[in-house]
């Protein structure tokens, strides 16, 4: 017990400072050189202070969004891998991102010029789409089983992914070229949220999910071994599965509606963290969240500087790093 606490403290200190440093450093890095002294120089009116505008309007919300999305996707990845007892599960395995993508595609091609609670129609529609996918998958998993069948959950998720991607292709095919380009851009992930509105809309949902995540590690440790063994040790298996499923799905939906379906974070980060701190979820979950934040913030710095002034989609960076890593993981597992 004390050993776990010691490892937890060490992991939080190490990964926490990594996340902290990356969020602090990211707004200082970019294609336009800015002076920190000028940024915080109160004597210059904000409207004339380009350095401060770049810092507070363009870079800081991006870094914070990157941290929120990275932490959420990495933590949701850990939860899904334990819930599905499958090391290759990701936050997108059960169709949440496909539902979100379908919502976003529809909002883009229908040219919805609305905004709800300070977020654009695309963001709102993608979150609604993710909720739809969650509801369908959950109904499937409960339909023919008194408990909560993770196998049916997986199959339903995979089928839903395929079905939704067919619908997405259909919607994109009917869209005209400018809209098709925008839908494609959305699918590649983007953290340039230009302001704090979208972030503030997503954060409460992520916060609720993280409260649930704080309760999950111990039962997940037992669950990831064997549901029967977990039940015999007094774990309310169905309840744990339900909390894990809904909290991780909702967090994923919020993260995807904020930053788009940024791939590989939910699988690379948990595995890298496990290599470092071991398999205990009490350590892996918080450490993954912190490392996920640092990783995505760093990837986004690369995305906005590598080809400037052209903006690279951050999903391309994470995929370029994540693809080879995933293959390595597959080979190593055998």
């Amino acid at each position: 017990m004390t050993d776990v606490r010691r490892r937890l403290t060490a992991a939080i200190l190490a990964f926490g400072s990594l996340a902290f440093v990356s969020v602090l450093a990211a707004p200082l890095i970019g294609t336009t050189p800015i002076s920190l002294r000028r940024v915080f120089d109160g004597s210059i009116p904000f409207a004339d202070n380009v350095d401060a505008q770049i810092f507070f309007i363009a870079r800081l919300p991006r870094a914070l969004a990157g941290a929120a999305v990275g932490a959420t996707l990495a933590a949701a990845g850990v939860v899904f891998q334990a819930l599905l007892r499958n090391p290759l599960a990701t936050p997108f395995t059960l169709g949440v991102s496909a539902g979100a993508a379908l919502g976003a595609m529809l909002a883009i091609t229908l040219r919805l010029h609305l905004s709800l609670w300070g977020v654009s129609a695309v963001t709102a529609a993608s979150f609604i789409g993710s909720l739809g996918a969650v509801a369908i998958v959950y109904a499937m998993a409960r339909a023919r089983h008194r408990g909560f069948s993770t196998n049916i959950l997986l199959l339903a998720g995979v089928t839903l992914n395929a079905f939704f991607s067919a619908l997405i292709l259909f919607v994109q095919y009917l869209a005209d070229s400018a809209e098709a380009l925008r839908t494609m851009r959305w699918l590649m992930g983007d953290l340039d949220i230009a302001g704090y509105g979208p972030l503030l809309a997503a954060l409460p949902l992520c916060a609720v999910a993280f409260v649930a995540f704080a309760w999950l590690p111990r039962p997940l440790n037992l669950l990831s071994l064997d549901t029967d063994a977990a039940a015999s040790r007094g774990v309310d298996v169905l309840r744990v599965q339900r909390v894990a499923f809904f909290s991780a799905s909702m967090a994923t939906g919020a993260a995807v509606s904020l930053g788009g379906p940024i791939g590989f974070i939910g699988i690379i980060v948990p595995h890298l963290v496990r290599l470092i701190v071991g398999a205990d979820h009490r350590v892996v979950l918080p450490a993954s969240a912190l490392f996920g934040a640092a990783f995505l913030v760093a990837a986004d710095v690369v995305a906005r500087t590598a080809m400037a002034p052209v903006e690279l989609p951050v999903g391309i960076i994470t995929a370029l790093v994540g693809g080879p890593f995933f293959l390595w993981l597959l080979v190593r597992q055998r």
Binding site: T31, T32, F46, A47, D48, N49, V50, Q53, I54, I57, A58, R59, R62, N86, L88, T90, F92, T93, S97, A98, R111, L112, H113, L114, S115, V119, S120, A121, V122, L155, G157, V158, N161, A162, S165, L169, Q172, Y173, D176, S177, A178, A180, L181, R182, M184, R185, W186, L187, M188, D190, D192, A194, G195, P198, A308, P309, V310, E311, P313, A319
Partner: protein, 301 residues
């Protein structure tokens, strides 16, 4: 293993689709077109199928409108195309439909290689398109006019186009040239997925002609996605934003303009010089670029 593999199916599909769309976009949007002669019989065609909206407009401009037998699904101008049969477009040309119309000339994009090959095999003369700049529109009209046997009318229409553009250029001569951001797309009600014109293509050329200095004129691309940071750094004096629907309610237009308030420090926003332009002609590099040039010049004033 089944699930593990298929959980990536979606991702793989996205990338493949993405790659396809990139190719398509590169092949079709916001570029001027230049006409390149294709092969085939050279008698005067009387049943022309046009898969290229700008070529359709050119045909009508040179008085060959009555010879147009069918158009693409994107054609909306001139109003005479309304009742004509539709035969698909760049991505989805309907070969059966085209063949059934028994055309004696099909105008298609040069990138539609499969379609062009099929038509040639069927013995149907084709005329293929290639990209270019603003200057290529007039020369493209002359080429097309020669191909369909109306060189004099084509010359007249091309000269009118060049005269119209020259008038706009003359009208802004000597005026200050505001540093202008030309936005060609973004997510409605937010500044996300901002797509802007780089230093290539007919839209950039039109902006230059209408008296604006493109803030991204030094980037050798037609269009690109940029971050809000870059816009803050570029500090444009005017933001010109193109919307391809023919009009919008005053309310929608105001709401979309207000989105720019997120960047209060940009001179264009501070000085109320964010201009939204609406119109289907904004995407068509055809004879109506004169209208676009005038609209740009007015918006920059």
């Amino acid at each position: 293993m089944g699930h593990e593999a298929s959980c990536w199916g979606l991702g793989a599909g996205y990338w493949a689709l993405g790659a396809r769309i990139v190719t398509l976009i590169a092949a079709m949007t916001v570029a001027g077109h230049a006409l390149a002669p294709g092969t085939g019989a050279q008698q005067q065609p009387t049943r022309i199928v046009s898969l290229v909206p700008s070529a359709t407009e050119m045909l009508f401009a040179m008085g060959a409108g009555p010879r147009v037998a069918a158009v693409s699904s994107y054609d909306r101008f001139p109003p005479e195309v309304e009742p004509l049969p539709r035969v698909g477009a760049l991505v989805d040309p309907d070969v059966e439909r085209i063949l059934s119309l028994r055309p004696d000339l099909v105008i298609a994009y040069a990138s539609q290689t499969d379609l062009l090959a099929q038509l040639r095999r069927a013995g149907i003369p084709v005329y293929s398109y290639r990209h270019g700049s603003l200057a290529d529109i007039a020369s493209g009209m002359r080429g097309l006019g020669t191909r369909i046997g109306v060189p004099a009318e084509a010359e007249r229409a091309a000269a009118a186009l060049e005269r119209g553009l020259a008038e706009v250029r003359a009208s802004v001569a000597g005026r200050p040239r505001p540093r202008t951001l030309l936005v060609i797309g973004r997510e409605p009600q937010s500044l996300r997925a901002l797509s802007v014109s780089g230093g290539f293509g007919f839209l950039h050329d039109l902006l230059d002609l209408a008296g604006g200095d493109n803030v991204f004129g030094d980037v050798k691309r037609e269009s690109m996605m940029v971050a809000t940071e870059t816009i803050l750094a570029k500090q444009p004096d005017v933001i010109l934003e193109l919307h391809y629907s023919d009009s919008a309610s005053r309310e929608t237009e105001a709401r979309e303009r207000d989105v720019w308030a997120l960047l209060p420090g940009v001179p264009a926003v501070r000085n109320g010089r964010v201009r939204l332009l609406y119109g289907g002609e904004l995407v068509v590099p055809g004879p109506r670029v004169v209208l676009t040039a005038r609209a740009f010049a007015r918006a920059l004033r």
